[in-house]
């Protein structure tokens, strides 16, 4: 009998939850209106292939839709020169800010009523943090070899579309302190790895 009651309670609470989320559907709309939101962050290579991507919006529900978006963004920006300064374009009612570094293309997308400069600061944070984490070697090969760092970096910049941090040094610091290298005992590292770790520590102490 007790079990039955808890079961009823549970169904009730779950029903109650659905109706509430329906009722607050409007809020969701507002929330997107007022809080600066990032719709996706992309890191592609010089042929438009994925290195690492992260989507925060339901605008692209399937992988097919995402790939189509990446393809279109890449085609549209490919011929521009976004190396010295971040570039920007409007695209299907999205604002895309982007920056290239060797064979890596960084993109940050927001809705067309988003503050462009906020998006640009996210892009700056991302590309600079990747630069620090890859020790200046910002290229596809290096990025894939350190994909764990790139993914952690994405995780530290934006959470569910909300900007977590835009300062590249802080982002890189949070990622690097957790990287596998520093966690493993020194004896297990090869000489070159140990050297790299040492270099990194030095770099970080200089940055402070």
């Amino acid at each position: 009998m007790v079990k039955l009651e808890t079961l009823i309670d549970r169904t009730r609470s779950s029903l109650c939850m659905t109706s509430i989320s329906v009722r607050y559907g409007i809020n969701l709309f507002f929330y997107k209106e007022t809080c600066p939101a990032v719709k996706n962050i992309l890191l592609l290579d010089s042929e438009g292939k994925r290195v690492a991507v992260k989507y925060y919006s339901d605008d692209w529900p399937t992988n097919v839709a995402r790939e189509a978006f990446e393809k279109a963004v890449f085609a549209k920006t490919q011929k521009t020169n976004a190396r010295a300064e971040a570039e920007i374009t409007m695209f299907d009612n999205y604002i895309v800010v982007y920056k290239f570094s060797q064979d890596l293309h960084f993109f940050v997308t927001g809705s067309d009523n988003e503050n462009e400069i906020i998006l640009a600061s996210v892009l700056q944070g991302f590309s600079d943090a990747v630069g620090i984490l890859l020790r200046g070697n910002v290229e596809k090969k290096e990025a894939l070899e350190n994909l764990d760092l790139i993914l952690l970096c994405l995780d530290e910049i934006v959470d569910g579309g909300i900007v977590l941090e835009t300062d590249a040094n802080v982002i890189a610091g949070k990622v690097a302190s957790n990287s596998a290298d520093s966690g493993a005992p020194l004896s297990e590292q090869t000489i070159s790895q140990a050297l790299a770790t040492a270099r990194e520590h030095l770099a970080r102490s200089l940055l402070k």
């Binding site: 607050y24 929330y31 600066p36 994925r50 374009t89 640009a120 993914l151 909300i162 941090e165």
Partner: protein, 886 residues
């Protein structure tokens, strides 16, 4: 042994295409994931395997449910390891796998342990992971820790909790709302991003409480918000408060000073946010605009493309409403025409086109001509649209602008681009009489070498309507007949129709047209031959009895009288039978456009395109539904169905709305009922209608609803008789009556005995607007003139003080229930007068057109002149009565 992930060989330059993930396979990686179960965990190796799994997910690979569950359970074992790096990867993969509720339980305790760990990094990440995967019940258990975390002295932990709060507010608002004290404390945090996240959450908790938001803004705009991101948020909230409060008695705008002070902030994002907020203020004055325009102007010459783009995009918007305010920036704008970034260049050009004055047009056109060759089609379309509006603004300059359009028409381009140009030329021809002859010739030249069948047919159709009215119609015949010789069947057929139109209107050309049409009788295509035969017949070319001139013209030029999409659906539904297709059976109602379509920019139907017509599936559905009910089948043709009117508040036990179906002699109320109580089953549901305040109506039938289970909408109907063709109005009060039975929620079975019960619904009114159908016309002026002044009624009305002109216009449109034409329902902000054109069909099938002229009189008083033309003077009177009594 797996390949080491981090491989730092010196000989790597030899193999350029080397990727650590080369030849990676899902099956193999899932096998590798077995290392997670080793009693002696190799943290490094495990991290590598997780990275591989994440790589697969990131590349779009999907795991089956079983695979994901398997990986998830294996990953949970890794909480045993103390390795920090591995733990981070574990957090990451748990979020990516988004485990189901019963799986979450496995990791809950591990994550809760981490949430209370002494390591800040563990705490912050465990909070984010747990909040991502948690549900309502678990949330109450960890709520205490989250509240602590919000005020944690480590900013990373506090931010993690606050951001998680923002996400959770969507699903569990009642829990998150209990945290407002802690969030309020966090707003005062010294850490920049904590302040930002706290402010975002606090505002969302309170956003439905205007007073609280206003207080929040008042206190924070005085204090010092440190983070630029938080400052941007505050600017957005301030705009919201300004929007809701309006201008104060003294004419000062509250918080304007704050926005202006933000223009001097040191962070660019704040300066821009403030400038944008000022330009978007409703009813902004030029004095208020000036400082914002000044900072945007500085951005125009920035070295950063993002800043230039942001500034030029905002100024472009301002130029639509306040072109004068932007003219100061014209010199900077002109230098942007050569900007490397073509988006910026296009925005600069279109802004210049909006702000330019008559004297600068020629110079501007020269610059644009050079520019057009090296931009993409999509940008060219924007420019063409801007040139079109410029030409409408300075009709005297039509010559150079029309030349420009015809030049670019001859160049290479895709369909959308060509269509934009053709549409623009057509609009210019319509609105600028002087431009007509030249424009038509440009179009004729274009179809000589046009690869798009659609555009050719559209131009031929337009030519048929306009060409005969020009001074020398004969010069177009050659172009048209060339199409009959050279083109595909579709274009040939429409060229035949165009020839016929010339024949009908220009008597001197008739014999020549007959010769040409007779040649078409030998065409290889059925449609072309049929048309030629038909037109020869109607025009009397083969010696047959000629129909009257009026009828011929009506046949050739008259509109179908039904929206095309409706006709299309009706034709699709028509099954070949003995009975011929009857065009009168096609519904005439124009459904309002779906919102999404309105939002899409540049999709406004302009030029050749027909007036907005949208799917009519609901009307069809209603008609089918009603004719399937024997009681109502004899009522004849459905004239109109209203939009559903809610008769209950949202979130009540029973949700009821009503749709009014108007017939000639009858009116049927369709009550759509939904039962929102899972423990109840309703039976024998009826609506008891008291029509004592609606004297002309008498109830004739009612159709109860047998059973209304939980969450399954059902309908009950009540029908009334009313005087034929009369727009009878009245008020009806409604009561829902039913037998309620308890339902056992576990078995879903209802008890046998029920109790009779009643539920009071809100009143329902039948108003005059219910007797007017929304039917658009494609060319209001033509339609207006063809109705003539015989049945015209003009009168003036004072509407009293109104919130805004737009509000007054919308009220009158809603009151009349007619279709706004040519986009005149949109009132530009700040305007003091407005003309709105409406069209519709009154009950009995009488066409009605309305021209409304609004003017603002004094501070807020709105006056209106109403001119009505219809086919029947009594209907014109009736429309005036609607307004007079409304």
């Amino acid at each position: 042994m797996a390949q080491p992930l981090v491989k730092k060989d010196d000989d790597r330059d030899d193999e350029m295409d080397y990727s650590p993930f080369l030849g990676i396979e899902k099956g193999a990686v899932l096998q590798e994931a077995r290392v997670f179960n080793d009693p002696q965990l190799d943290a490094r190796r495990c991290s590598q395997v997780i990275t591989k799994l994440l790589y697969l997910l990131n590349q779009g690979e999907s795991f089956t449910k079983a695979e994901a569950t398997g990986v998830f359970f294996a990953v949970t074992k890794l909480f045993q390891s103390k390795d920090i790096g591995l733990r981070r990867m574990v957090y990451l993969i748990i979020k990516e796998l988004s485990p189901s509720a019963d799986e979450v339980i496995i990791v809950t305790s591990s994550l809760m342990k981490d949430m209370n760990s002494r390591t800040d990094m563990y705490r912050a990440n465990a909070i984010r992971v747990l909040c991502r995967i948690t549900d309502g019940t678990l949330l109450t258990q960890i709520e205490r820790y989250l509240k602590q975390a919000i005020v944690d002295k480590n900013p990373v932990v506090a931010s993690a909790a606050l951001v998680s709060g923002i996400h959770l507010l969507q699903t569990n608002p009642e829990i998150v709302k209990r945290w407002s004290n802690e969030v309020q404390e966090a707003v005062q945090s010294r850490a920049a991003l904590v302040q930002f996240h706290a402010l975002a959450l606090l505002h969302q908790i309170r956003q439905n409480d205007r007073l609280a938001v206003s207080k929040l803004v008042t206190s924070l705009t005085k204090g010092s918000v440190r983070s630029p991101l938080a400052q941007c948020l505050l600017i957005r909230y301030t705009s919201q408060v300004i929007r809701e409060s309006g201008i104060s008695q003294t004419g000062d705008r509250p918080f304007y000073d704050y926005l202006e002070s933000c223009l001097r902030h040191k962070a660019e994002m704040v300066i821009f946010e403030a400038a944008r907020a000022i330009t978007e203020l409703s009813g902004v004055t030029s004095r208020e605009l000036t400082p914002a325009i000044t900072v945007l102007q500085l951005f125009l010459s920035s070295s950063k493309p993002v800043l230039r783009f942001a500034a030029v995009r905002t100024l472009n918007k301002v130029a639509m409403t306040h072109p004068m305010a932007v003219t100061n920036c014209n010199i900077d704008m002109e230098s942007l025409i050569s900007d490397q970034n073509r988006s910026i260049a296009t925005l600069a050009i279109t802004t210049l086109l909006k702000t330019g004055n008559e004297s600068s047009v020629d110079r501007l056109m020269k610059q644009i001509t050079n520019f057009m060759s090296d931009i993409a089609d999509e940008f060219k379309i924007v420019v063409v649209e801007a040139i079109r509006s410029l030409c409408l603004k300075f009709p005297l300059k039509y010559r150079s602008l029309m030349n420009f359009l015809s030049n670019i028409l001859r160049e290479e381009g895709g369909f959308e681009y060509k269509k934009a140009i053709v549409d623009s030329i057509v609009i210019l021809i319509r609105d600028i009489p002087d431009a007509k002859e030249g424009g038509l010739l440009h179009l004729c030249e274009f179809i000589e070498d046009c690869e798009f069948t659609y555009l050719s047919t559209q131009i031929l159709h337009f030519l048929g309507n306009e060409g005969p009215k020009t001074s020398d119609p004969s010069k177009y015949i050659r172009y048209i007949y060339n199409r009959v010789i050279l083109e595909n069947a579709t274009v040939r057929a429409s060229a035949v129709s165009t020839l016929a139109k010339f024949g009908a209107l220009v008597d001197s050309l008739k014999p020549r047209i007959f010769v040409l049409l007779k040649r078409c009788l030998f065409d290889s295509d059925d449609e072309v031959r049929d048309r030629a035969t038909l037109y020869l017949n109607t025009l009397g070319g083969d010696g047959a009895v000629v129909e009257t001139d009026e009828e011929v013209k009506e046949f050739l030029f008259g509109s179908l009288g039904v929206p095309l999409t409706n006709l299309e659906t009706s034709l699709k539904n028509y099954e070949p039978s003995e009975e011929p297709f009857d065009i009168h059976s096609v519904p005439k109602e124009v459904k309002s456009q779906p919102l999404s379509e309105k939002k899409a920019p540049g999709k406004k139907p302009t030029g050749l395109a027909a007036p907005p017509v949208a799917p009519t599936s609901t009307v069809d559905a209603y008609e089918r539904l009603l004719s399937s009910i024997p009681e109502f089948a004899s009522y004849g043709k459905l004239f109109k169905s209203s939009a559903p009117v809610e008769l209950t508040e949202a979130e009540t036990e029973y949700a009821v709305n009503v749709v009014k179906h108007i017939f000639d002699n009858h009116i049927v109320f369709q009550y759509n009922c939904t039962n929102t109580i899972p423990e109840q089953l309703l039976e024998n549901v009826t609506v008891i209608v008291d029509a004592s305040e609606a004297e002309e109506f008498s109830e004739v039938a009612s159709k109860p609803l047998k059973s209304l289970p939980y969450d399954t909408p059902g309908q009950t109907f009540v029908a009334f008789e009313k005087p034929e063709g009369e727009p009878a109005v009245g008020k009806f009060s409604n009561t829902l009556r039913f037998i309620v039975k308890e339902v056992d929620p576990t078995t879903g079975e209802a008890e046998d005995d029920g109790v009779e019960d009643e539920y009071q619904l809100e009143d329902l009114e039948v108003v005059s607007a219910d007797y007017v159908l929304k039917v658009g016309v494609s060319n209001f002026r033509n339609a207006w003139e063809s109705l003539g002044p015989d049945c015209e009624k003009v009168d003036e009305y004072g509407l009293g003080p109104r919130e805004s002109l737009a509000e007054a216009v919308n009220t009158v449109i809603d009151l009349l229930g007619m279709q706004p034409c040519e986009g005149t329902e949109v009132v530009p902000s700040n305007s003091r007068s407005h003309t709105c054109l409406l069209s519709g069909v009154y009950i009995g099938g009488v066409k009605v057109l309305v021209r409304l002229s609004f003017g603002v009189d004094g501070p807020k008083d709105v006056a209106m002149k109403l001119a009505v033309r219809s086919e029947d003077i009594s209907v014109s009177d009736a429309i005036h009565e609607i307004v007079a009594s409304g």
